[in-house]
């Protein structure tokens, strides 16, 4: 992994909304440079602008100011997006859902099938190609959503609280699989989460954001060996970091969030 290669450059990006009672700041100016192949976690309470930041990077929303530069060399779809809900099309099978980005960009069916089947295997859904989303559990649907986001091979993967709707055991499994997928594909991943443990376990760097107004408070380097696993969760460094992240998230007035 070329650790020095720049992938995403965010310079003074901010977002304000016009509401009934004046303008609301969703995100104060944020600047950060993210390297190619880096895994970034963004952690913070509701209303801290973490989802807003992902939506700005993906182009789903427009920034009120500042610049976002993606070094993606002309990729038509530079980002894959995994939403909080799987957002699978209920009338399409798992295979058709995973293949959907390819079908809609003119890739031939045979090639699309091959790519989609490989990804379905990678996310552990072999045997469910012909199933409809409603026949799958929440965790399985989210795996399918990840496979779909990867299917047209975007260099950047944005994940907005992808595992918040699944139970804790499933979440642990999905975290380990995500790390495996990240290691085998070399994607640059930005993952938004409520969970400081998840943030620390997965990432190279953790962005800590605070609310009212939403802003980037600090960025921590995660000094934990790869590949990560059960041992990581026993590592004192991990616990120190998690404790530090919790302190960072405590608002100055000690408000609950």
């Amino acid at each position: 992994m070329g650790q020095s290669e720049r992938m995403i450059d965010i310079a003074s990006v901010h977002k304000t909304f016009v509401a009934d009672h004046g303008t609301v700041t969703a995100l104060e100016p944020v600047s950060i440079t993210i390297r190619k192949g880096e895994f970034i976690s963004i952690v913070g309470p509701s209303g801290c602008g973490k989802s807003t930041l992902l939506r700005l990077i993906s182009g789903l929303d427009q920034a009120s100011g500042g610049t976002i530069t993606l070094d993606v060399a002309g990729a038509v779809r530079p980002v894959g997006f995994v939403f909080q809900e799987p957002v699978l099309l209920p009338w399409k099978t798992i295979l058709e859902n995973v293949r959907f980005p390819l079908d809609t960009s003119g890739v031939r069916r045979a090639q699309g099938d091959k790519t989609a089947l490989d990804l379905i295997k990678m996310v552990g859904l072999s045997g469910f190609e012909k199933a409809l989303p409603r026949q799958l559990s929440g965790g399985m649907r989210q795996r399918a959503a990840i496979a779909r986001a990867l299917s047209d091979d975007p260099p950047i993967l944005l994940m907005d609280e992808p595992f918040s709707a699944v139970d804790l055991l499933t979440r642990d499994n999905l975290n380990d699989e995500l790390l495996r997928i990240w290691q085998s594909t070399g994607k640059t991943i930005l993952l938004v989460t409520h969970s400081v443990e998840e943030a620390a376990y997965l990432a190279d760097r953790v962005m800590v954001m605070t609310a009212r107004p939403g802003k980037l408070k600090c960025v921590h380097d995660v000094d934990l060996a790869r590949p990560r696993g059960e041992d990581t969760k026993l590592d004192p460094t991990y616990h120190t970091l998690v404790a530090q992240l919790r302190r960072d998230l405590r608002t100055p007035a000690g408000e609950a969030h």
Partner: protein, 247 residues
């Protein structure tokens, strides 16, 4: 379910026969089921009953198809262009609130006595619930699907074909199921107002000749057609809803 329905039907026929015999009801008021059946058989042999059934069926199928297509297309236009919707809504509401029985003579004046005015009348009543279903289905499509379409940079057509149209399908089919009964009524009204073929025509000539058995026979045939028609649309709706309904 079906067995119980058949049992209910047989019970009704038995009761009907019993009433006729026990109270000696004269045939010009209420003929028994056997007489009605024999009148239907007579019409089948001497009055080209099948041809009349065919005419009515054609009117219903053609009018229903026309109304559905126009309903879906205008639903797309209205959902996309609220300005056109605001412009057209008063006219459409006026057309829908006008008693169909009052529109029918006008259509007959304009389009003659053949199947065409009936087809148009059926299309008018079918169009409305289908259009409403389409507008609702498109307008209240999930925001998360819109995000997906945007991330994937789908064209307007791709997004319509792969996401919006399938999302709207349950609402459209619900509109179509409602339209089946309206379409039956419109067909009969159209034929009663002026026709030289069709079940409504046979019905009105039965009335003119004080032939109660023919009138009852036509009511029964029309009910059976309407029921079958509704069941077919409802079956399609139920089949597809399990696949197309949003979670």
């Amino acid at each position: 379910m079906i067995l119980r329905g058949i049992a209910g039907l047989i019970a009704t026929l038995v009761l009907w026969t019993a009433v006729v015999h026990l109270f000696n009801v004269p045939a010009y008021l209420l003929p028994g089921p056997v007489e009605v059946l024999s009148r239907i058989a007579f019409l089948y042999e001497n009055a080209k009953l099948l041809r009349h059934i065919g005419v009515t069926l054609w009117e219903i199928v053609a009018g229903f198809a026309l109304g559905t297509i126009v309903g879906i297309l205008s639903g797309v236009v209205f959902a996309r262009l609220p300005r056109i919707e605001r412009f057209a809504t008063p006219l459409i509401l006026l057309l829908q609130t006008a008693p169909k029985i009052a529109i029918a003579p006008l259509l007959l004046l304009w389009l003659g006595i053949g199947p065409t005015p009936k087809i148009v009348l059926i299309a008018i009543v079918t169009f409305f619930p289908v259009m409403q279903g389409m507008v609702t289905g498109l307008r209240y499509g999930e925001g998360s699907f819109r995000d997906l379409a945007k991330v994937l940079k789908l064209s307007a057509w791709q997004s319509f074909w792969h996401i919006e149209l399938p999302s709207a399908l349950p609402a459209v089919l619900a509109g179509m199921a409602v339209a089946t009964t309206l379409a039956m009524t419109a067909a009969v009204i159209g034929e009663l107002m002026g026709a030289n073929e069709g079940l409504g025509y046979l019905l009105s000539s039965g009335q003119e000749n004080s032939d109660t058995a023919v009138v009852i026979g036509m009511v029964v045939l029309l009910s059976l057609i309407g029921w079958a028609f509704y069941e077919v649309v409802e079956l399609i709706r139920r089949r597809s809803i399990s696949r197309f309904e949003l979670n």
